[in-house]
């Protein structure tokens, strides 16, 4: 499965970038995130409860940010394993300066395996699109909040 989309953010590219790399922000957008542990530079481990309606599963997930090009783009790789199956997703996140602030463009690919793929293939494409869209909408809210918080704390907005 794959797709793309974009969200509008209110801060400058630099502000947005700082917020994106904040683990607290990541924790807010990961669906059903129950624990988030920083395990290395740009690496995290988490327990996620993901699903749609009654079909929910608990996944033990690892996340890492790779190909990090400061203030421009990065790839977010997520691998989750749980009872219903596993997910391998990768999203390319790119920032673009706009008049209103920053446009965040994303493209993603996702492979789903296990039981959920075997019996749920009819809905996987749509549900993936939904969850990814959800993630970026949450990201949008979380980043906007963080940018506001950073501003009001008079933290330097970055180089």
């Amino acid at each position: 499965m794959n797709g793309s989309g974009q969200v509008q953010l209110s801060g400058s590219v630099n502000e947005v970038w700082e917020a994106l790399l904040d683990p607290a922000v990541l924790a807010q957008c990961m669906p059903g995130c129950e624990e988030l542990e920083h395990t290395g530079e740009h690496r995290y481990r988490a327990r996620l409860v993901v699903g749609v309606a009654a079909v929910k599963g608990s996944y033990s997930a690892t996340m890492e940010l790779v190909d990090v090009q400061p203030y421009q783009s990065y790839r977010l790789r997520i691998h989750g394993e749980g009872g219903p199956g596993f997910v391998d997703a990768e999203g390319l996140v790119q920032l673009q300066c706009t008049a209103e602030g920053t446009a965040l463009h994303y493209t993603y690919t996702a492979d789903v395996g296990g039981k959920v793929a075997a019996v749920g293939q009819r809905m996987l494409g749509g549900v993936a699109k939904l969850l990814v869209g959800d993630f970026f909408r949450r990201l949008q809210k979380a980043v906007d909040r963080q940018v506001q918080a950073n501003r009001s704390a008079h933290l330097p907005a970055g180089g």
Partner: protein, 297 residues
């Protein structure tokens, strides 16, 4: 395929059911017909901590007629709705759609409420009840609220139902007697999930021009999709070959279905266009019939 452990409650009446939901709603699931839920439990795709079996709530099993409305109790079995002569007569769209839901055996158990709450993107009842401007009646220990179905279905298998709420009724306004209707479905085998299904309601004026057009497609999105642009295209027009070609193209361009093993996105887009035209053609013919007008289309 054995489910994981769960607690089981079987309330005797609505009050008890609502109390159970208030207490367990967020990690419980309501069991009605079980035709969708039980397989999910057995496959361990769903593992609620408790099941609240509402099959004892006979008070929710009713078909009532009031001024301008049909009130369908949530526990009404699909087969009962299918066979009721008054429903067949006044809601021919439902009469046409219900035989497409699974098989007789599953319709004997499956409920109207269950189908609406389950909100499968291809399901016939959510599509048709939304096309008919149906309203969901949601009850909790706190009271009752009503949500029109076109706002009730949020996305894949997800509705506006709160964790402590029970869908107790779907009410549907009784359509005008000269309304044309059509339900069409395309599936590989009889009884399978639809690749695409279409519900169409419309009326015609004395010039044969279409008015009050409702055209909704299932299976191309997470919820039934009203085709607003297509409805506009048809409004004020008579049905004919060139309009059909235009409609087919417009519908295909208006939908963004997901590919799956049963069809590519391109195929489903095309199929949506074809099936929409077949539905409109049928609805138009019936509207004209009801006006007593011979139709050559």
């Amino acid at each position: 395929m054995k489910p994981s452990s769960f607690d089981y409650y079987r309330p005797d009446n609505l009050e008890e059911a609502l109390a159970a939901l208030a207490e367990h709603g967020s990690d419980g699931k309501v069991l009605a017909g079980g035709q969708s839920l039980v397989p999910m439990l057995n496959m361990r795709l769903s593992a609620p901590a408790c099941l609240i079996d509402i099959n004892g709530l006979t008070e929710l099993n009713y078909l009532r007629w009031s001024e301008g409305w049909l009130h369908i109790g949530a526990l009404t079995r699909q087969r009962v709705l299918e066979l009721d002569p008054h429903v067949r007569q006044r809601f021919p769209l439902l009469a046409e759609a219900l035989p497409w839901i699974g098989h007789v055996q599953t319709r004997n158990r499956g409920t109207v409420g269950g189908s609406v709450v389950h909100a499968d993107p291809t399901a016939e009842l959510p599509l048709c009840l939304q096309a008919l401007a149906g309203v969901a009646v949601l009850t909790s220990a706190q009271g009752q609220r009503e949500v029109p179905l076109d706002s009730f279905f949020l996305t894949y298998m997800t509705t506006d139902l709160g964790p402590d709420e029970l869908l107790t009724e779907v009410k549907v306004p009784i359509p005008a007697t000269h309304q044309g209707w059509a339900f069409v479905e395309f599936s590989q085998r009889r009884g399978d999930f639809a690749l695409v299904d279409v519900a169409c309601l419309l009326q015609t004026d004395h010039h044969g021009r279409m008015t009050d057009v409702r055209l909704l497609v299932g299976g191309v999105d997470g919820v039934p999709l009203p085709l607003a642009e297509a409805e506009q295209l048809l409004t004020g027009e008579c049905w004919g070959a060139s309009l059909q070609a235009e409609l087919q193209q417009l519908v295909a361009a208006s939908v963004e279905p997901e590919a799956d093993v049963h069809g590519s996105a391109e195929y489903k887009r095309h199929l949506a266009g074809v099936m929409a035209c077949r539905a409109v053609q049928q609805a138009y013919r019936r509207a004209q019939d009801r006006r007593g007008v011979a139709c050559n289309t």
